[in-house]
Structure formats: structure tokens, C-alpha cells
Amino acid sequence: MPSIASSPTPPGDRSGPGNPADTATDDHQRHGHQHADHQHGDHRHGHAVGRRAWGPLLIVVPTVVAALLGNRVGWFTDADLRLWSTLFVSISLQALPFLALGVVISGGIAAYVSPDFVRRIVPKRQVFAVPAAGAAGLALPGCECGSVPIAGRLISHGTPPAAALTFLLAAPAINPVVLISTAVAFPNDQMMVVARFGASFLVAIAIGTWWARRNDVQMFKRLTDHQHEDPRPRWQQFVDVASRDLVHAGGYLVVGAMAAATLQLVIPRSALDAVADNELLAVLLLACLAVLLSICSEADAFVAAGLPQFSLTSRLVFLVVGPVIDIKLVAMHAGVFGRRFAMIFAPVTLATAIVIAVVVGQVLL
């Protein structure tokens, strides 16, 4: 999204060709929602009416939702609908503080850290930048939802995408909170902590290196394109960027939470036992489960500990895959980095995580 708030175009000038940024925004809104035309029209008459133009949305959305839920009662029993709602609200509420931390950091970078400074502290050569970004992931205590807006901001601020993506993968997987909860969940298998740390770090480095070699400058064009000086005071930039990132990433988070809540209900966990004895199937199954259940990286160790019928290696796969790629993250990646990126990134990351976790598991566990 280009930053529009500072646009000085006077009201009478709208039809002129002078301001491409405004035109783009109008187009976006017109295609984005049927009410955009309505809003656009209102603006010609002054802002007092224009502000009220969002009112219909607040009514339309709940109505649509109520209609959808009404249908769903026919599919699930009443108890199932309530359980779905509990899971959905839980995942959303749990993620909110981490998302808030993420957008505060993202807004802080945007407003108070100059791109020059970022370019100075990130090592020039990707050989060093990628491991450095991975190590930086150690310092952010949170789960995966918060690191997505931060990585997006880092890229738009001139960080090499390879380094930003390494950070994106490392931060939720190897931070102290996650490692401690893993140690607590596996009191008799402390090597699990070492294996999780090692495998997750290797995955982040491998993906970062892969992206560095790929050297795709087009991919993040829309993140890096609008580098212009923002004339507003810094605190205003901070508020604007933090709000925008929160609403943006938060919307995709909700999409992911809906998918995860649905899948948690649909997948019968007792059916898992059938394949637990076949190592290959177990690895693939737990990898899929990690993607589909979208459990927060701070909690997934306890869920893995609750699957004792599976081998330690297959449970390591669950712990390494979950924080780097799951349904909720695919939705957020598509929103923040673009759909094309998510389509490439998800399968490659999933495959890399499975292979590295299996190898590390064979060596250490």
C-alpha cells in the first residue's frame, strides 16, 4: 500500500491526471469492494458524508457472517459450532499480543530507523547476512504471527530479502521461550531441545541461502517500490504504519485462524494411531498435521509430547515444520509478501523442513 495520507491534492483536482498514487488507490477500492464506488462518490461532496460511508460495511459483514453461520448449523451440531467458535476465538486472541508486538517493532523500524542505518548494520555479503539474521531470531520472544510484519518491514526498508526471510523463519522457532517450553514438554528427552534448535536454525539458513541465490528482485517490488520521504512527524508515521500492519496482517491471521479451527474439528486425532508404526508415513502425517493445525510455536511442543505413539524423529518434524509454515502463515505470507511468493515459498519451506528435521533427528535422537 502506498502511503496516501500526505497527499496534498485539493478536492477539486481529483479528475486531473496529476496524482497517480491517488488514482491507483481509487481503482483498488473500486475493485476491492462494491461499496468503494459509493464511498468514492461521497468524497466529492465532502468528508462528513465520506466518513459515514464505512457504516454499510459494518452492517454488511455481520449479516453475511450470520448467514454463513446459519447454514453451518445444518452441517455441525450446535455443540460443534460452539467448539469451532471457541477454537477460532482462542487462536485469534492468543495471537493478538504477538501481532501487537510485531507491529510495534515494524512501526518503530519504519518511523525511527533510517533505511541507511539498516543497510549499514546488515552485512553486505549475503554469506554473512543470512546467518546474522538467523542469530537475530534468537532475540525475539514470540510466536510466528509477529515476525511476518517485521520481515515485511525489513524488506521494504532495504534489508536483503534473503536475510529478512531467514529472520522470519528463525525468530518463531529458536527463541528462548520456545526452547524452554520444549525442554519442559520433553523432560526425558532433553536432546529434543538441541535437535529442535539445530534443525530449525539450519532450515532458516538453507531457505535464506536459497533465496540469496535465486536473487529475485521482482518478487518484492511492491514492498520496496514506494521509497519516498514521508514528511509527517515520526510519531504519526509510527501510528500509521503500526495500525496499517496490524489491520492488514490481522485480517489474514483471522483467515488462517478460521482454517485452523475448522481443520482441528475435521481431523479425527484418534485416526492418527493407524500410521504411527510406519516411520515414513508418520513423518509425512505429522508434517501435514503441523501445517494444518497451525498451533502457536510456544505451545506445539506440548501437543507433540501428547503424541507418544509417534517416534521422536517424526515429532521433531512436527516441531520444525509448524513454526516455519502452516495454514495461518500461508494466509499471512500471501497478504504481506504477495500470493506468488506464498505459492513458491510454502512448498519449498515445507520440503526443506521435513528433510532437515529427519536428518537431524536420525543423528541426534
Partner: protein, 240 residues
Amino acid sequence: MGRAALLCIVGAVALRLVITGEFGNFVQQHMRIPITLAAVLLIGLGAVEVVGDLRDGAVDPESSRRPVGPTVGWLLGLPIIVLLLVAPAALGAAAADRIDPLVPAEPATNAAAVEPLDDSDGPVPLELYEFISRALWDGSGSLLDAEVELEGLVVNDPDVDDGFRLTKFAVSCCAADGLPLQVMLRGLDTTYENDEWVRVVVQWRPPDDGVIDPEDFVEADVISIEVVDDPPDDPYETPF
């Protein structure tokens, strides 16, 4: 302006969940402070935007036209609508039927010895996790002959006609990672509704054949039972 309103509403609802304690149905208690901070941040961001918009708007009406962002951002309001329409409750019998029960892992061999239970002053209150853990792994037999007080909700079992599965969920972050802890209560002659909260005094019933199998439910004989009207503020256990 729409975005500011959305932020304020989401923040206000999150704050309400914390103040009423309802958040405990969805996430672990230790999330209280993080969620409060996030809610205050959201309300603050929204309020600053409103003030900024009003001030800029007074000078130049067009400058208050800030794009809300992609339409998907509005979905942030969806959990609130679901909260209103469906009124989701804490995890209960419906979830317990779908998820395999959590079996406490064998404590590490170097863990401190289990403390004996002293019920001379009345039944000893225990969490379900600890009760099950002692039943399965405590070689010293601390549960034998001890009267223990447990609390949980009712999950009826079609295979058992003189009792039910006393259930609480172990939650480490949010309800989506909740796993049921279950003790099979026996020796009851009245039936209870699913999801009713009860407080019971029980005595552990070792397996008839003396072989303890973690795959089987831990069983207990009920000495007394009372229905709890208000479920506890924290309906979950955090054994980890």
C-alpha cells in the same frame, strides 16, 4: 476513520474479555497482561488516528482520506461477531470426545521423590494432572488409601453406567492446544449432565489385575460429590 474505529472496537472487546475474566475460556491465565497491553495499544492507535484525522480534517477535508487497506483487514472484526452470535464457552465434552486424553509422561528419573499425601485434616485437593501422574507413575503408592478432592466437568462415557469421566483440559497457550485430562469416576448412582462442573472427594481405585497401563483410564471411587454452580475463573490446568 474506519480503520481507527476497527482498532478501537477490537481493543475494547479484548479489554472487556480480560476484565470479565472471560478470556480465561480461550487462553491461559498468563496471557492476561500481554492481552491487556495489546488491547491498550490498539485503543491508543485508534484514538491517535481519530484525533489526527479530526485535526487534519478541519484544515483539509481530503487529508482524512486514509486507505483502510485491503478489504481483508475488516475480517479482524470477525472474532467479535462470532463472540456475539455464538457465545463460545470453554472447552467441554464436545472437545473431550474429539481429542485423545493427555497421559502425563513418566517423570524424569532424577526428579525429586513424590511427597506423601496427608489427609488427616480432610481430603487433599489435587489437580487432575497430578492425580493421574501419581496413579500411573508413583511407585511409593502415595494415593493408596488417601482421600483426594478433585474438580472438573462431567463427560459421560457410554460404556460406564455408574459414573463418568471427570475432565479438565491442560492448556499451555490457548484452548486450541487443550488436551483433556480424564479420571473415570465410579460408584455413582445418579447421572449428571455433560459439561456440569462438580467437586468430588475420591479414593484411587487401582486396576483389578494390579497392572498399571497408561493407555487405560485412571479410575477412582467417589466418596462424595457436589455440583459447582459457577465454573472456576480458570477452567484449565497448566501442568507444564
